[in-house]
């Protein structure tokens, strides 16, 4: 057994490299990946990209058009001139700074919803797929949850607690879980029939070890693909919740919040909706492209079906 472990590790590392090589040959993965990396860089480096405090309200500088000049008084009394690259909103806040800082919330929500729903769905799906007694009950509950349109369920869930980052993450995660459960369960059901799993059962492998060693590796590729799509959809749903005024508290700069704020004066100042809208759409598009590419590269069978 101990002699086997390193060789299987080497094999899986080689397979991983192979998949990576295959993936980088796909243009969707490369372009989507680069845009996502750029957004992550923007989110992290937001303070150094010529931004000001995104929450600073300035009544004298309300509703400035993109390109308008302003002077900033620094702490030592000197003044400095700067430009509203994307204009200002109806409270005089700098939209450029808000959009850049907004990338943080969107990416954090996308990543945490993807991780949480994949982890939750994996655990529940493995239990449902492997233990017959749990299957019927779990899948009935999942069917019921899937009968509630996802955005509606998320909206209902955020209404239950006071708005905040954690509440929004949980509210977006719960509707995503049933889809992951279904995917994992179907993989477990097909893997169970494989001769090597039957052999392992006959050899007396314990159930947790069996799930860990033989079932889990089969779920990784489809779950990476699924997780990518969940990340994209979570970012969209968060923006929708914020836009409707029921997501992250309105003082926090998120793309949805900036757009919600821009609704009021949309006819005269459409930039408050369009700039964050472009960032949002570009990010989601990039993640979807990444997902499509990964699916083609990692899971040829699935790619043929969809």
């Amino acid at each position: 057994m101990s002699a086997q472990a390193p060789s299987s590790f080497v094999a899986s590392a080689a397979a991983g490299r192979g998949a990576l090589r295959l993936a980088t040959r796909n243009s969707g993965v490369v372009i989507g990946g680069l845009i996502v990396l750029a957004m992550i860089a923007i989110a992290i480096l937001a303070p150094f990209l010529g931004t000001v405090d995104p929450t600073e309200i300035n009544p004298a500088l309300r509703n400035k058009l993109p390109g308008a000049e302003r002077t900033i008084r620094l702490d030592d009394g000197t003044t400095r001139s700067s430009t509203f690259i994307m204009g200002s909103d109806s409270l005089g806040r700098d939209v450029y700074s808000r959009v850049l800082y907004g990338a943080r919330i969107s990416l954090v929500i996308g990543a945490s919803v993807a991780l949480l729903s994949v982890a939750g769905g994996l655990a529940i799906g493995m239990i449902a797929g492997y233990f017959r007694w749990a299957d019927a009950v779990v899948m009935r509950i999942m069917d019921g949850l899937m009968a509630i349109p996802a955005i509606l369920l998320a909206i209902a869930l955020v209404s239950l607690s006071r708005a905040g980052l954690l509440a929004v993450i949980v509210a977006i995660t719960i509707p995503e879980i049933p889809r992951v459960v279904r995917l994992v369960r179907s993989i477990v059901l097909s893997v169970r029939e494989e001769p090597y799993v039957e052999a392992a059962v006959t050899a007396g492998t314990s159930v947790p070890l069996l799930l860990w060693r033989h079932v889990l590796p089969n779920t990784i590729a489809p779950l990476i693909v699924q997780g990518t799509f969940i990340c994209a959809s979570a970012i969209l749903v968060e923006a929708i919740l914020s836009f409707l005024g029921i997501g992250i508290p309105t003082s926090t700069p998120t793309w949805g919040n900036i757009m919600a704020e821009g609704r009021q004066f949309f006819r005269i100042f459409p930039h408050n909706i369009f700039f964050p809208g472009v960032f949002l759409a570009l990010t989601v598009l990039a993640i979807n492209m990444l997902g499509d590419g990964l699916r083609d590269a990692l899971d040829p069978k699935m790619a043929k079906r969809v």
Binding site: P149, L244, F266
Partner: protein, 313 residues
């Protein structure tokens, strides 16, 4: 056949039951006290207690469920806190705009998506195909409200062709009704078109490599008839399925679209109810939308024999 229909109808009962139990538990298992949230920050303990008893939250959970479910079974959805009227009445007032929007959207989306999908499959790999597929990925990525504001900006503000926002009841004239529905329906149909066009293309591609297509071409059938009569008909089942599943996206989109275009429908009601923490209304709307979604997919399942007579139950 009848046995299958019966089995399929019965299978929706546990699903709806789970939805009902979930909707019921939502309020009871919420981490925050819903009564305190409704009452607001400045409420006294007495006020909170009063709201709690009006919601029935002070009773044992099982009896709460029996009372609530019994009312539900009799068609009593309770009363709205915020609008101070029966929820059945409230839904009756708000249902027309939503049904109109959904109807126009589905008609528009299917009319756009199926020809696009057929064209993309027919010219697989060409620039038409790339544009359709590119649009489809884009349609999934641009949020509904950004599309909505883009269309408003273009067609209502810049060009002035269509009204900016609002809704007119169908009884006041079909012209005004349709005029105000075009932009919202176009907005809402984008994601639906993306979904259906993609599925049409995939499903048709599979069928186009079949022998009977070659035979149809060999006997000199014109290409249009090959595509629509021979290919599309055989590719219909997955397309119809995705039209049904897409209703979930549509319902989510309705909530947003009605907010963008200030349409006084069920979607707007949902948002208003959430903002006012009007829990009985939120519960009722979720039940209603889920019921409609399940029902539509049930009907689609049952309609498969129409599209493919080979399917026998």
């Amino acid at each position: 056949m009848i046995a299958y229909v019966l089995r399929r109808v019965l299978a929706t009962i546990p699903v709806m039951l789970v939805v009902a139990v979930f909707v019921f538990l939502m309020l009871r298992l919420s981490p925050a006290d819903p009564a305190a949230i409704i009452a607001g920050d400045s409420a006294t303990t007495e006020q909170v207690a009063e709201i709690r008893s009006r919601l029935g939250l002070d009773q044992p959970i099982l009896s709460q469920f029996v009372i609530w479910f019994g009312k539900l079974a009799r068609g009593d959805l309770g009363e709205s806190f915020f609008f101070k009227k029966s929820i059945v009445e409230l839904i009756g007032e708000r249902i027309e705009p939503t049904l109109s929007l959904a109807f126009v959207t589905i008609v528009l989306a299917v009319a756009i998506a199926i020809p696009l999908g057929v064209l993309a499959a027919y010219r697989q790999g060409s620039w038409v195909d790339r544009i359709v597929m590119g649009f489809s990925v884009l349609g999934f990525s641009v949020p509904v409200f950004v599309i909505g504001y883009l269309l408003i900006y273009l067609f209502a503000i810049k060009l002035g062709w269509l009204p900016v926002q609002g809704y007119q009841r169908i009884a006041q004239g079909v012209g005004g009704w349709l005029e105000r529905l075009i932009l919202p329906a176009l907005t809402l149909s984008v994601i639906y078109v993306a979904l259906v066009a993609r599925m049409t293309r995939t499903s048709l591609l599979e069928v186009l490599s079949e022998d009977y297509i070659r035979t149809a071409r060999a006997k000199g059938q014109i290409e249009l008839k090959v595509l629509f009569r021979h290919a599309l008909k055989n590719a219909a089942v997955p397309i119809v399925t995705v039209v049904g599943l897409g209703v979930a996206l549509l319902i989510g989109g309705v909530v947003v679209t009605e907010s963008v275009y200030t349409i006084p429908g069920l979607g707007r009601l949902t948002v208003d109810a959430v903002l006012a923490r009007d829990y009985p209304v939120i519960q009722a709307v979720i039940l209603l939308f889920s019921f409609v979604y399940v029902l539509i997919n049930l009907l689609i399942d049952l309609s498969y024999t129409l599209f493919d007579p080979r399917i026998r139950y």
